[in-house]
Structures are given as C-alpha cells and as structure tokens.
C-alpha cells in the first residue's frame, strides 16, 4: 500500500466553484458521475442528489474526502460507490441515519480501499443490499461479528490491513464467493469458515498461519486458495518430542487390538470404563487404537488435488504416520485435555493429548 509513482494531488477546489459547475452539468438522466481526480475541500456537495437524481454510480476516489457527508443519504438509487484512496476513517466518515436512507437498500458495491479505517464503521453494516465490499489497504485490526448482517455479501476484500483474528460469524454469509484476507496478521482460521459453502476463492497469503483446521477440506467449491508467505508447519515438525505411553495404555491397546475377551466381572470398574474410551487411530493404514497418549502432529495433506496443507492430525505414536508423511517425529511432554479447539493450540509446540 502507499503511493507508488502517483502525481501530487491537485489543489482543493473551493466548494462554491465546484457546486456551480456541477449544477451547470445537471442531468435528470445521468447515471454515472466521476469526480476523481479533483480534490474536494469538503464532503459531497449539497445539491448533488437534485442535480443528478438518477445517479447509480458515483466515483469520488482520490478526492481527499475526510467524510462522505449527509448528501449521500439523499441519493435515491445509488448502487455503486467508489471512494478509494481518500482520508476516510474518522468517527464522522459516514453520515448518521445511513440505515434508513434509500442507500441502505440500493447500494450493491462499496469500495473504501486505501483509506484510514481502523475499524469497520457500524453504519456500514446497515447497508443490507451490499454485494461487494472492499476495505483493502486500511488500518483494520479486526472484523466485527456483526459482519453477518451483510447477508447479501458475495465479495469481501480485506487485504492489506492489521487483522489478527477472524470471527466465526464471518461464516454466516451464505453468498460469499470471494474472500480476501491476504497481507494481514492472522494466526488462525476458525473451523466454522468451512460453512461458507459458496466460497470459490480464498486469499490467505502473507499472514501468520502455522496450520489450517481440517474442516477446510469441506470447502469443495474452492477453486483458488493462496497460502504463500505463511509460517506453515515446516519449522515445528522439527520441534516434536514424544513421551512413551503408560503401561496401562499399552495393556489397553493390546486388549483392544488383539480382541482379548473380557467381562465387567474380570476387571475393576475403572478399567472397564477406561477400555471403553479407546479411539481408532485416524491413519487408515493403521489398525491401532489409543487411549490417552497421542501424538498431535501437523501434516501436509493433499487438498482439492492441488495443495499440500498442514492439518491437525492425531496419531497413536510417532511411528504411526499418515500415508503422506515423511516428517520425523517426536512430541512434547505438555499435556492438555481433549480439545475441540485445535485452533487455540500454540502452533510452535506439539501437544500430548489426554482423553477422558
């Protein structure tokens, strides 16, 4: 982001002169108005909606706007607003009452890229008809859970910000086809994102991801996926250390894998309970079971026939590896309760998992 070879901006125009010129150019039929690259000294000129009542496309990119102004509320049928490379981002950037304005229903495309938003303005989330939203190259630190209000959203561009986490509510956008999160500071992807069944393109390059949740495999319509520039896996396969299983665990495994017959009267209740907790090793070529000693590993797995992604896998011992693995193995001694939230595991360590 930033200015690469752009010419210095022209001097701001006096509001009265601009108003006079636009008034002279008034048209009842005109659907498009481009004010770029002129420099505006204030918000959108009052009277705009009267001079151009049929306006559908308004381009005020690169005009130096610090606030859109209330005239926006009067535009009756605007469907595309391009306001990139301005100075929007402060508290008054969007006018009050946006949710009740005609814009809230008519606006389909909004481009606020290259501005100074450090958070998504709540008013934005009232634009219920919005199909395409770009806030690329701003200063966003997060995504509000209320993003789910934009139920018609198909295209969401948030590349080039400072986003550290993705709220699971983002997954509640049923029409989302294109999601760009590249060039941020994202450390993990919530597994709920797999519910974005319309997603066709996902851009995650240049973030801080060390792994992806295995639910990503459910995104069968995904055709484009970018992952480069993430510290994926390779480094912490080397960090693996392993604690051998207990005698109880080894005995339990033998009972299960050799189908040694037993009845509740043969064993203390606690051991009967213990034996019922056996889980099958997810390695399809291994017939083994495990109880409470698991090697949690990150493995590369083929996905959509194109990419090898690191996913969280549970394996019963370092020797038991998935068909795709060639990594050397060991595990840390840190224990942790059986967890659903793989996403919260620190990516640079391997965890021993205790079940039950």
């Amino acid at each position: 982001p930033g200015v690469l070879g752009q010419a210095p901006p022209p001097a701001p125009e006096p509001e009265a002169a601009l108003a006079a010129e636009l008034s002279a150019r008034r048209s009842a039929e005109a659907r498009r108005l481009v004010l770029s690259p002129r420099r505006l000294s204030g918000p959108l000129p009052a009277g705009l909606s009267q001079w151009f009542p049929a306006l559908e496309v308004l381009d005020v990119s690169g005009t130096g706007l610090t606030e859109m102004g209330t005239e926006l509320l009067s535009l009756p049928c605007l469907h595309t607003l391009l306001a990139k490379n301005n100075r929007l981002g402060g508290p008054g950037s969007l006018p009050k009452g946006l949710g009740q304005a005609p814009l809230a229903r008519s606006l389909r495309v909004l481009n606020f890229s290259g501005n100074r938003f450090s958070e998504m303005p709540p008013a934005l989330l009232q634009l219920r008809g919005l199909r395409s939203l770009s806030l690329g190259g701003n200063r966003l630190h997060g995504i509000p859970p209320d993003i789910q209000e934009l139920q018609s959203l198909e295209f969401l561009y948030l590349g080039g910000n400072f986003i550290t986490a993705i709220p699971p509510e983002l997954a509640k956008l049923p029409s989302l086809r294109y999601l760009v999160l590249c060039d941020n500071k994202i450390q993990s992807i919530p597994p709920q994102l797999a519910q974005l069944h319309s997603l066709r393109s996902l851009s995650l390059h240049n973030n801080l991801l060390t792994y992806l949740p295995r639910e990503i495999l459910n995104l069968v319509h995904l055709e484009e996926l970018s992952l480069r520039g993430n510290p994926l896996v390779v480094r912490f396969v080397r960090d693996l250390t392993y604690n051998p299983p207990s005698l109880q665990e080894l005995a339990g495994r033998t009972v299960k894998t050799r189908s040694v017959p037993y009845a509740p009267s043969d064993l203390p209740d606690s051991l009967v309970r213990y034996l019922s907790l056996a889980s099958n090793c997810p390695n399809p070529k291994c017939g083994g079971v495990y109880f409470d000693s698991c090697v949690r590993q990150i493995k590369f797995v083929d996905f959509c026939g194109k990419y090898r992604l690191p996913l969280m896998h549970y394996l019963c011992s370092p020797e038991c590896s998935s068909p795709y693995s060639s990594a050397s193995q060991s595990s840390t001694s840190q224990s942790e309760s059986d967890s659903e939230d793989e996403a919260s595991v620190a990516a640079h360590r391997m965890q021993k998992v205790l079940l039950g």
Binding site: S113, Y157, Y178, L232, V234, K306, Y307
Partner: protein, 205 residues
C-alpha cells in the same frame, strides 16, 4: 531463433498497432535479438485507449487476453490483475518471455530452479517492483518467477510476448519445489471473450 545479430535497430513504437507491426517485421527474420525486442516493447508508451478492448478483468484471478498470434512465431497478450491477484511460481517452457507494464505495478520475484529431489523450500533470488512502461525479460536459463499485483487499491495491466508460443508450463510449490504441469487458457482472444471448459487445472498458486 533468438541470438545477437550483427546490428540492432532502435525502434520506437508510437502505438500498440505499430508495436505489433514492428514485431511481425522483427520475427519474420531468422534471427531475433532479445535486447531489440525488449527495447521495442519499452519504447511503446502505454495508451489505455489502444488496449482497453483487450483488458477484461475477472473478479477471482488474473486473466490472459490474446492480442496477436504473431504468425505462429510469438503470442502477444494482455494480462489483467485485480487487486491482490498473483501467479504461481512458474517456468516458461523453453521460450522467451517479455513482460511490459501498461498500468499499475507488478512485483516480480525470481526463484532458483529447485534441486533434483524437489524436497525443500525454494530459494528466492531477487524481487523487484516493475513500474508503468518498464519491460522485464525472463527465460528458463535465468530462472523461475512469480508475478503479483501487490496493490490493494489499484488493478494492474501488463503486455506479454512469448516466443515461441506455448500453452503449458510447470507451476512450483514454494515450500517443496514440487512441480505440476498446467495448461494455460485465454480469457479472451482478439477482444472476444472465450468460453473454456472448467475442470482444467488452472495456473495459480
């Protein structure tokens, strides 16, 4: 066949049409100079009116739009890159590749060819941002590259010449060096949108 000829012309292409005409002239000869073509491409000052008809963007990824098929000697095409769009690391199937920026900026990252085993992170050689009207050149002996529009606000347009023409190449996984052959398709040809079959592996990341 490209070699250093005895004399190199200094061309100035004053329009896209003229550029194409001079290219036909140059490539009609037995020997063509890389420097001559690069200088010719660079001499053309991008005028959007002349190439807008070929500049068809796609929402999801960059597009390849054929401009001229060079009597079979070369392909001239325009690539359109939306914000954040990038290519995979790829080779050039023993052909010469010229890339001129018509609008915006493109980042080119050069990579070494992976080792025989292809088992390890690929080595970056260098990177640069190409500006409007600059023309870069690459072939397989120089290395592999990734091209991307790193802007989050501006689309980019580039003019590419490949000689001889080719429609398959290898893409490379940066993490492992593993390569994968892909077929490249045209989003449009001579200004007309082409509809191609889905399911064909697309050149991507």
């Amino acid at each position: 066949m490209m070699e250093q000829p005895v004399q190199t012309e200094t061309w100035k292409a004053r329009s896209l049409e003229e550029l194409v005409r001079i290219l036909h002239q140059i490539f009609a000869e037995d020997k063509v100079s890389v420097d001559e073509v690069q200088a010719l491409m660079e001499s053309y000052e991008s005028n959007p009116e002349e190439w807008l008809q070929y500049a068809k963007f796609d929402q999801y990824r960059y597009t390849r739009n054929l401009v001229d098929s060079g009597n079979g000697k070369f392909n001239l095409m325009i690539l359109c890159w939306g914000e954040g769009h990038g290519s995979s690391i790829h080779d050039h199937t023993d052909s010469h590749c010229f890339m001129k920026i018509l609008q915006g900026n493109l980042k080119e990252t050069l990579f070494e060819w992976p080792g025989k085993k292809g088992n390890g992170e690929m080595t970056k050689k260098s990177e640069r941002v190409l500006r409007e009207n600059q023309c870069a050149y690459i072939n397989d002996s120089i290395g592999l590259h990734r091209v991307e529009n790193i802007s989050h606000t501006e689309p980019a347009v580039s003019l590419h010449l490949y000689s001889p023409p080719f429609n398959t190449c290898n893409t490379f996984d940066q993490r492992t060096g593993h390569k994968h052959k892909v077929t490249m398709t045209f989003y449009s040809q001579f200004g007309e949108r082409t509809v191609c079959a889905t399911g064909v592996p697309q050149e991507n990341n």
